[in-house]
Amino acid sequence: MSKPLEVPTMDMENKEVLRRIEIGGDMLLNMGPQHPSTHGVINFLVQTDGEVMKRAIPEVGYLHRSLEKIGERCTYNGYMPYTDRVDYIAAMFANQGWAMAVERLLGMQVPRRAEFCRVIACELNRISSHLISVGTMAMDIGAVTPFPYALREREFINDLLEELCGARLTYNYLRIGGVAFDLPSGYEDKVSAFLDHFEKILDEFNRLITYNEIFIKRLAHLAPIPAQMAIDYCLVGPNLRASGVNFDVRKALPYSVYPDFQFDVPLGKGEVGTVGDAWDRFWCRVEEMRQSCRILRQALAQLPQDTAIMGKVPRKIKIPEGTEAYSRIESARGDMQYYVVAGPGENAHRVKIRTGSFTAMGIIDALSRGLMIADLVALIASLDVVAPEIDR
């Protein structure tokens, strides 16, 4: 390991320091915070020798809204719209994580139909989140066309979710103990019509970009993450499964009504490069979209007919101080975990949200040694890192 780079302090007045730093002939580049391919506001301090990078140090915190501090001020139901903002591309999962954490605190049961509504909304949101991740990754490698195709499909999902809960991005659809609205009439056929269309679009997407030779040459063997390193850095979700670790919270620690559905967990097989390289992460996300379609079809088929969508919850939720609960769900970016300690009266004492992107950022520094700048862009895209989730 080379000597850790002494990072110049960010004193704003003396900007000269940052620009004139020359470390043994290397160039110090500031990639970000406004940069088209950092997926939100992140800054990379890149020490390069020409094209090849010696080291890329991520700097985060530009999007820090301190959601955990707000959690201590809001009532339990009042905090739900804030959880949408933890990861606004996959907001439904953050809602579900928070709802499950508080339901564990209250020790209450959610009616079966509400669980189905949650699963349907979450799986649709997983597809739309993966579409953005896959679309932006293709655009970062240079292929612009797959991005509008992905966004077009995402628009159909946005319309479906808008019809279900009234918002396209920050849904605030779940409530403690159930869901806010029931499925509108005729919703099932709209969703199944979308699914039929979408699976064909997936095949077309694979033909266009996944198996494109330049795409493969750019991503195969790029930053392969061995399984042990992935576990050590606590990578989760598609990043972990691409390295061959068979762990999906929906299967390993089943929650909600997932045990009733059959679906398999795509694992990285190193089809075009080594196991756990950027292409595998890309492929895992494409396959997961297909599996989500399977889950959605089964959820629509087994939808219970009773109309209870809300469990018995007191109007003002008060939980005895000091009780704590830990909930884990399989978000689009992996294992999202809520650690909630109840406080006096109506609000929590401490909320800690552990998201997939945060630990994925931790690994970039180690992986970036020796990559080229174009590869750093591809690596960030393949880890599907989203700024709001890192900074919270």
Binding site: Y82, R207, I209, Y211, N212, E213, A220, G345
Partner: protein
């Protein structure tokens, strides 16, 4: 870490790899190019908003769309449930209380929603008893000045709007078609900003939430207590008097579907707590207590003999005269009467904050099982604690 991780270049020496590379490239280009060319001959997905739309955009928006908020003031009961539900306090309602005779009982001087700060989460629409506040499907609200983004549903502050009194057991509440009010209120995009006085100017005009004029809580309480005494046996009439002491907004915060339910429960003696009326706040609590005390002791407190039984300390009112040192109620009353008084002193919200399942459990703990910690009723807070010490020990509670 391997120093350089540039992928191993294919060895072109092997002629097979060379040809395979070229063939793979050609095949994948063939596939990719055919897909993009096929899109040349398909209808693009873009709907060309705003002018070349086949169907006007408001039809394409689903019914549950959460656009700008709209309050139909004709059916708004001024219960401020929406203001309390909003996590970022974007709604600002100012209430003027009246005595119901000369001035209407409840008027709204201001009902502002700052749609610039609103996050359209829909939490305010749920608790509204009459569905006055709704999300419209309006979203075109661009304005030049940030302060124009506040919708003012009370048009003129000098003519406050009278709160709506929903008829008993009414299910549907007539309202104007959704969106009309908001569309009128959203200003033209180039409207000039409102002439906000700066903080200093406002300070000169002794700015601050004015004390609601026109309602003397203690006096009204005594009046209602007197009327309650005359109709002591006739439960429905008693219920009417009790309901007058409440805010009358049927907001359901007290746990009963509407004000009738709560006042009827008190009239029948099932519910002795006087604090459940959240919109009524301190005023209606003080009035209800004077009525209950007068019903119990048979004389209107303070009307005939000011010293005999001063009303229990009303928070915020003038400091009441020092109570004569009688034995605390816990010795004088029987267990079940004591039970009723202690339960009456609690918040009655069954919140379970006191580690007892509900208020009834906590009261039984104090009265029967000798629970000594009297400060556990979180929602009741300070004044419940004062009352419990008053009843059980007859002394002032130690400072928190």
């Amino acid at each position: 870490m391997a120093e350089t991780q540039i992928p191993p270049p294919q060895s072109p020496g092997a002629f097979g790899a060379y040809v395979k590379n070229v063939r793979d490239t050609a095949k994948s280009f063939w596939e990719g190019m055919s897909v993009t060319l096929s899109y040349m001959f398909r209808k693009p997905i873009t709907s060309q908003y705003p002018d070349r739309m086949s169907v006007p955009v408001s039809e394409t928006i689903p019914a549950r769309y959460r656009g700008f908020l709209e309050v139909d003031m004709d059916i708004c009961t001024a219960c401020q449930a929406c203001e309390r539900a909003c996590p970022i306090s974007v709604i600002n309602i100012d209430i003027i209380k009246g005595d119901g005779k000369t001035t209407p009982k409840l008027r709204m001087e201001r009902f502002d929603i700052d749609i610039g700060k609103c996050m359209y989460c829909g939490l305010c629409v749920e608790p509204c008893p009459t569905g006055a506040i709704q999300h419209t499907r309006e979203f075109e609200g661009a304005v030049m000045h940030f302060n124009n983004l506040t919708l003012r549903f009370v048009p003129d502050v000098l003519q406050p709007v009278v709160a709506y009194k929903p008829p008993k057991g009414a299910e549907a509440f007539p309202r104007q078609p959704l969106g009309e009010i908001t569309r009128k209120l959203v200003k033209a995009w180039d409207a000039p900003p409102p002439p906000f006085p700066s903080k200093e100017e406002a300070a000169k005009a002794d700015h601050g939430k004015p004390k609601a004029a026109g309602l003397d809580v203690a006096a009204m309480g005594r009046q209602l207590a007197a009327r309650a005494l005359q109709v002591k046996e006739d439960k429905p009439k008693l219920q009417k008097v009790l309901e007058e002491a409440m805010a009358g907004t049927d907001c359901g915060d007290c746990g009963y579907p509407d004000c009738f339910g709560y006042s009827n429960a008190i009239a029948q003696g099932k519910d002795t707590s006087t604090e459940k009326c959240a919109p009524g706040g301190a005023d209606s609590k003080a009035m209800l207590e004077t009525i209950l005390v007068s019903l119990k002791t048979g004389i209107v407190p303070g009307a005939a003999d000011p010293k005999a039984e001063a009303p229990p300390p009303v928070p915020g009112a003038a400091p009441e005269p020092e109570k004569p040192k009688g034995p605390p109620l816990s010795q004088t009353l029987s267990k079940d009467e004591l039970y009723k008084v202690v339960l009456d002193a609690m918040a009655g919200t069954d919140c379970g904050d006191c580690e007892y399942p509900d208020c009834d459990g906590y009261t039984r703990g104090i009265v029967y099982e000798g629970q000594t910690d009297l400060g556990r009723c979180a929602p009741g807070g300070e004044d419940t604690r004062v009352k419990l010490y008053e009843i059980m020990l007859g002394t002032k509670p130690p400072a928190k």
